[in-house]
Symmetry: D2
Subunit: 299 residues, 4 copies
């Protein structure tokens, strides 16, 4: 071959095989997204267009998106220290460098931008960094998502209070940070309620809980009370609404749902804004202990 | 902190520090780009719009693009086995996961698509995978680029002959592969010339040599004979044209150029289609042995 | 500090953190042990002195040896292609480079040499290489040990037949390899029995099953029928002998043993030569799903 | 194969290829050697038997020891905080797990113990941990060894003063640490000289400079003035003594030595206690920029 004299340079491409039979989690993070959010006039504390743009379902038609995994999206708020554009998902492959989900996510983000921001041209190319984390067991996976949702909650509560102080209270950003310094959760709730009449728990669940995408066969139906919050909901009369799970813990679902109905339901990708820390969510969707022995054999 | 109970999951984020004082090369590769090229009707064997879209200078305003490195872009041809959408560059950082140049490249690709393909809407999101390769010395870096350019040449010669047989010779793709099976370089030249009147060496340098982006302070000027081939050229009267270097080896440049003139020239990003295998290119732009001791000390 | 000018060289010591919450397996392998066995006149096919020298219990007083793991030692036979001096164990630590069990094993091997080979001075320093393998779940750990024991069996059957042909049958080593080429297990049994009157299944269990070290609280007692085979056996009247487990599968032990007796038994390190492929061994000693969360938190 | 059902477990043995064309440095460190030195009554501050036991030449007959590298051994002093049993060397191989030099070193250490400590039986098995560090260039390699020698010097000066205060000055170890707290180098020199009549610079070079093993073809000869310090010295009449290099910088050697004489000299392994920080040592023995292209090609 013409290039054989130089082909030795390929020997420097060291293998980056991932440990088999683990849960692969890819965590994306927007690069300099504080500035990006400012430069594109994101609404604060939460920009619905930006949230919609990161809707994980937009990746759904691609085979690389996890078939039975869970995705969780933190809120793309826009304050100084905690703007995050995170999305985590479990995928499977066995070479780190072949995981181009970060590239796919980026490319989808830019491609769908004009739909979500019809009046705001993209001023420059956004980018995301990607970390791959391996989790050996189901418990760690669940704990990871709990950690992300707890983080989403903490950040959103802070941001909501912060921007209320700035936008409605007339404080400077510096003053608002001062006001909130050292406050605990209940104090932020109190500030929101007493000064601005905002009951934090009445805010859209999407802001408070983030977004979680699931692919499962649970029967679903639109419910009235969720109108406008998430487009797809679990059918109320066959299984408890995921909202109820949020407050009530584990639902009585398993008994209720007939085997037959479940079998008929097609696998569907759904966007939820429910609690994923309590047991309810995970009882419905156990993280299967993947023993991909056959797969591992041909690695 | 609210999430402290789950924060242990961060311990699974293992460090991915890169060995200091090496040359970091990032190699991008289009994912399923044969299909992508077909689905978007790329002209064969070379689509100028696709080449323009990957012009590395589009990334140039971003600080993450290598300040003094070299980028080389293979030809994004579109035949079955060798379509590549490669771009290599040397950057410096010390955590693998923080290298989001792949994401930046992807996002730029999608953002600039409408300019380069005004009549072809993007049908779906393209993606790229990224490999990071470390090279300990300057020789390996040079050999890497030689290997890429040799590869570009071999692929382009094959593709040019292949598509001539199909588009002008009326062969099926299967027949064309048969015709070319086992032929050496000179035979492909002969097929092109005798059957289709194509002198391969007259084809645009861009197709035969690929594109190389450089950032340097060499004085530049438009030259007549290169019109339409590359937009920027080294000033003919002060230094040998890079074309000459291609054929003549090392230029007499060093003696000719006065220190003063060089000092005045601002660093510029330029797109070249010259030979990067012979000594000329590298004599002008020695790969500095980076001894980033001060940097390394604070890693 | 005097050396601060050069201290940057420490930055090249990249972290080699092991993924938390996995089972760490260290596999040792003798370096050039064919030659070493020849140079020190190991008895073939099995040298009891060499087996004794590798008795994992010799490491037992050191805290680094796994507290509740299992060690398995393949047979140190001495034929050309399959001499192995393997020993696997599960340990826990979180930096690869801190695992000096290989060094400890080596040093113990040399220190105990004069006891096991009183008439054979060590002619040169032996060495072992060490591979660290991480297994995410209990099933993989069990399968690893099954794989090792199956390998021990295959190798020992071959070696036993090979050396019978050489030592008793008068064949050259080349002829013996020829005789055995392509034979399946039953044919090797037949050769041993018909030509040399050897019933393979009557050979010491130690050769056929290898050695496994366990640390557990199962009550133990010497039994008559095992005299000379393994020094320590499970108490026959309280639990099924491990030999029985070998043939009979899962013992009725769980029901039999009273909680009290188990509680009183101290943790002991024992050397077994029993089957570790069937369920029996593992039912008695389940691989605990280690959720070292507290440990992981301070990594 | 019998074990094929379980053979998948081999897939968990991830590759640990080392980056080619780098300098591989293996750094050994005694495990709990403070205690080991106490338990075996090492003489303080420097035990000549322990130093002799670690003489890198004992490994010399093994092919795995670097052919043209340099080894440096720090002093195995025995005070609380800085006892080190370090030995660094440059070797070449391309799989981390195949580097069993640590095991070989350990095994040699134990095997030679009775020769160096005829009256002190080994009470338990010592062990060493091993770190592999890759250095991309010659400068880093030289700086690494400079760092080690500077460290040896600092530790030895402290230990010499410390043990003089304890052994001759009658201080407790706690008092001695108090006395030395915060002192700079010149103050330790002064303490040694004024209180104990010790001129630090008159101490054996071996303690002050550590030991360096070299393999080269420089002509050698015993010299009178070095009697008892290092057994082998560079021939005084053909090249400057390495001692002179220590003080005088670069010797006039290159001119003096005839090409012929050098060619005749056989490669020899020598133990030096000279300065390896100044230019002299390295001028005589440049770290060759290893461009192992042919090697790299068959990795």
């Amino acid at each position: 071959m013409a290039g054989s004299r130089w082909a030795y340079v390929r020997n420097f491409e060291l293998p980056d095989t991932l440990l088999p039979n683990t849960f692969i989690l890819l965590r994306l993070d927007g690069h300099s997204f504080h500035r990006f959010a400012d430069d594109h006039a994101f609404v604060k504390p939460n920009d619905l267009r930006a949230l919609e743009l990161m809707d994980p379902r937009s990746l759904g038609s691609d085979a690389r998106v996890p078939r039975c995994g869970s995705l969780h999206m933190g809120s793309p708020t826009s304050t100084a220290s905690c703007f995050e554009s995170l999305r985590s998902c479990i995928i499977d492959d066995n070479r780190k460098s072949h995981l181009c989900l970060c590239s796919l996510f980026t490319s989808t983000y830019v491609m769908l931008w004009p739909q979500c921001f019809p009046d705001t041209p993209l001023r420059y190319a956004p980018s995301f960094d990607a970390r791959i984390v391996l989790y050996p067991g189901a418990q760690e996976v669940r704990d990871y998502f709990s950690w992300r949702q707890a983080d989403t909650h903490v950040n959103n509560l802070y941001n909501t209070a912060f921007w209320a102080l700035v936008q409605q209270g007339g404080q400077t950003t510096k003053e608002a940070h001062e006001t909130l310094r050292g406050t605990v959760s209940s104090q932020k709730h109190e500030i929101l309620f007493s000064r601005f009449g905002i009951n934090y728990n009445d805010l859209p669940r999407q802001f408070r809980k983030g977004s979680t995408i699931v692919k499962d066969k649970l029967p679903i139906v639109k419910t009235d009370d969720d109108e406008g919050e998430a487009d797809i909901k679990i059918k109320a009369d066959s299984v408890p609404n995921e909202n109820d799970i949020d407050e009530a813990g584990v639902p009585a679902r398993e008994k209720a749902s007939s085997e037959k109905r479940r079998a008929r339901a097609a696998t569907q990708q759904r966007l939820l804004h429910c609690d994923i820390i309590a047991d309810g969510f995970w009882k419905l969707r156990p993280v299967s202990v993947r023993r991909m022995r056959s797969l591992a054999c041909v690695l």
